[in-house]
Amino acid sequence: MDFSTLIQILDSTLRMATPLLLACLAGLFSERSGIFDIGLEAKMLISAFFSAAVAYETGSVWLGLLAGIGSSLVFAAIHGVASITFRGNQLISGVALNFLAAGMTVLIAQNWFQQGGRTPSLMGGARFEPLTLPFADSLAAVPIFGPLYAELLSGHSILVYVALLAVPASWWVLFRTRFGLRLRAVGENPAAVDTAGVSVVALRYSAVAIAGLLCGIAGAYMSTGLGAGFVKDMTAGRGYIALAALIFAKWRPWYALSACLLFGLLQALALRTDVVARIFPFEMPVQLLDSLPYILTVVILAGFVGKAIPPRAGGTPYVKER
């Protein structure tokens, strides 16, 4: 495998990892506050559809992004009302949203565009175009570093950089701010937060809203950056993979980055069967390659990867003690 192929695969890894990373960070905020969010998938999917649809209708990808985030926030709000205000079962609420999103997107798409449950292909300003980072062209000639910068780092849509910057930002918010301290506390022991005179409900709603925002960006990237339009079930279980990555990452932002890059690499390899064929002496079926991220998910969820301790109050609605 030559250097340029490696760069290509890593480049593809970065793009595949982006929606996973955003969703994983979304799950991180939500679960750190004690709200399990199995509906990451739903929020990505609904956002993917609305950003593509609005971007197509208006011709502006930015309006599309806003619409995607908006729809994702609506889903987050439903999850919040069900699991925080009405203290419902968080898993059930998430599963319900997943079904709702899967059905609703196709139904509305068919009714709206009559193209078999997809949106028309997006072009021009309705898509996120690759950004060229400063000096990319002039540095391209420098050996090793040049291609790394010009081809691997440069030339992605802005949302990729947003996702990458979201990692240090999340770390900073969680571990360096008052909000982060309270958020981590409310996922561990809401009673401690409550007796300290801080609202458990407000904290959890803000965490769920942050999850909505991040999933919204992830969904918009799927349909307007990575792809060019919405396709039925286009998230393809990424919400669940993000959850597995979250467990793998032990609910920490930097670990989340590594975990998502690993999953991204597996997805990128599945796209490059020619490379895989050259690495392995035997023929690797494409189906097996495609299913690798999911197999890894199962392995992680089955607990083969070390001991991960989730936030202690996760999944349990907070009821004030007498």
Partner: protein, 527 residues
């Protein structure tokens, strides 16, 4: 009430002219038809340690929850330092200078001490400045009141005594002048409790007002200046501690004369019923919980196991009760019983004449959603006496249950009522009725009176003594030293999975037992 505020026992730190730190006027609170607090008036002088004593369900916790803003009173007025104060939420309580140390600590386990202290009282949106300031402030308070804590230690890695100090520091950090402690000594060793009382006296000398909620008469007598007694939602009396006695307080709490000392004849031990040798248990995390325990219990004798919770007592009960696997040897009536394999379960134990009253009655002793009659047959449902051929003899069981409930004075005597609808004391009586009426050779009892009110404690103790007098062997595990001292014919102290030593109740005192419980051997007699 008023005159009491003016000369409330003249505690050393009290200021006679200052308005009372807390004054409650006519506080009432009802939950549906249950009147939890009825027209309660209370006045606590500034700089005093005031005790509030009462049985479970007397309304102590409700009253304190109102003071801390968890509940809104239906009627009444709260005055803090003479000024009427509205306390709609915990934030307002903190602002009014009230700090609360709950029975179950409100700490984030995987946070450091410093983070827990700061939580909710941060200086700004960023932690960096808050933390360095807080560290300095915390060190100052800790030194002032002699509470040494490492600000960077994680809560899950420090002991309960230390955790409690963190709770107190949390309140002091928020400039609390009034400190409320709810059952603070439940989880402490006698030595730790003494330390706590020293801290409280130190706080009092600094002019802080302290309210101590407890059901332990000894603590009230030891540390408070004044004491209020609550019964059935009402404040029945407020007296100066120096002018009362435990007997009087107990009578005020229960509403009738109570026997504080357990009345029992000397034991007449017969042959050895239980013989345990070199019992070892390794838990799932590969930690050795029992490290070679040996003991004997004879017929007609109560062996009390003292110790701070978590030193292997639970494992000992669970092995003998057939819940946990172990290595070593256990003989009952001279016959070896299986410690592993399929004959090491609860049913096999029961067939060998061992009855088990588990430590946690709500989790291991009862199914809370099931009715009393169903609960009373659990563990014995295979017994032909409970069955008609293939089917359960439900009518028969219910008749049987009615009799047991009557003999054990379970109130209300309704065998259809779900276990969770009974009070703690009555739940325990249901479990005891089930196990004692099987007429076992050996009764294992864990924490028989935890969360049980004084009246029921008396009854339960009498039943255990009766069983002993009937020539049965009893192994009693309790974290309440009073109970161990009162009931046992011999006392074994456990520490870190070992028996530290055996004592006779007449020849030892709480000090010596307390040292053994903390792992300090006095040189002789250690096993």
């Amino acid at each position: 009430m008023k005159d009491l505020a003016d000369n409330s026992g003249q505690p050393s730190g009290a200021m006679p002219d200052a308005p009372p730190a807390i004054e409650l006027r006519g506080i009432s609170k009802a939950f549906g038809p249950v009147q939890a607090n009825k027209d309660i008036s209370l006045s606590v002088a500034k700089g005093a340690i005031h005790g509030i004593i009462g049985e479970n369900g007397a309304g102590k916790s409700t009253l304190m929850s109102i003071l801390y803003g968890f509940y809104k009173a239906d009627a009444g007025e709260i005055l803090i330092n003479g000024a009427p104060t509205d306390i709609p939420d915990s934030q307002a309580a903190i602002a009014a200078g009230i700090g609360m140390v709950f029975q179950h600590f409100k700490l984030v386990e995987n946070f450091s001490v410093l983070e827990n202290v700061v939580l909710g009282a941060e200086d700004g949106a960023l932690l960096r400045t808050t933390m360095s300031k807080a560290r300095k402030h915390l060190t100052e308070i800790a030194e002032e009141y002699e509470m040494n804590v490492d600000p960077d230690a994680l809560i899950e890695e420090i002991g309960v005594g230390m955790q409690q100090r963190v709770e107190i520091l949390k309140s002091l950090y928020r400039h609390a002048d009034i400190l409320i402690l709810d059952e603070p000594t439940g989880v402490l060793t006698p030595a730790e409790a003494d330390h706590l009382f020293r801290i409280l006296r130190g706080l009092k000398d600094e002019g802080k007002t302290i309210i101590l909620i407890t059901h332990k008469l000894r603590e009230i007598m030891e540390v408070t200046d004044t004491v209020s007694v609550m019964r059935r939602g009402e404040m029945t009396a407020t007296v100066k501690t120096a002018e009362t006695s435990p007997e009087e307080l107990a009578e005020l709490m229960v509403g009738r004369k109570v026997l504080l000392r357990v009345d029992k004849k000397p034991a007449q031990p017969g042959e050895t019923i239980l013989k345990v040798s070199d019992l070892r248990v390794v838990d799932d995390d590969n930690v050795e919980r029992l490290k070679g325990v040996s003991l004997q219990v004879r017929a007609g004798e109560i062996l009390g196991i003292a110790g701070v919770a978590g030193n292997g007592q639970s494992e000992l009960l669970n092995v003998l009760g057939g819940i946990t696997r172990a290595t070593g040897s256990v003989q009952v009536n001279g016959q070896e019983i299986d410690l592993t394999g399929k004959h090491s379960d609860g049913r096999s134990r029961r067939e060998r004449g061992i009855s088990h009253v588990p430590e946690d009655r709500q989790r291991a002793g009862l199914i809370m959603d099931f009715s009393a009659w169903e609960n009373i047959v659990f563990g014995y449902q295979w017994d032909p006496a409970c069955n008609n051929g293939m089917l359960m003899d439900n009518d028969g069981i219910r008749r049987e249950t009615a009799g047991k409930m009557e003999r054990f004075d379970v109130r209300p005597p309704d065998c259809y009522l779900a276990a969770k609808s009974f009070s703690g004391g009555n739940q325990q009586k249901i479990v005891l009725a089930r196990e004692i009426e099987r007429n076992p050779d050996l009764l294992l009892v864990g924490q028989p009176t935890r969360g049980v009110d004084i009246g029921a404690i008396e009854f339960i103790h009498q039943r255990i003594i009766e069983l002993r007098d009937a020539g049965k062997a009893i192994l009693l595990v309790s974290v309440e030293l009073d109970e161990i001292m009162g009931l046992s014919d011999r006392i074994a102290v456990m520490f870190d999975g070992r028996i530290m030593g055996e004592r006779l109740p007449g020849e030892t005192d709480e000090r010596e037992l307390g040292l053994l419980m903390a792992g300090v051997t006095s040189g002789e007699g250690a096993a």
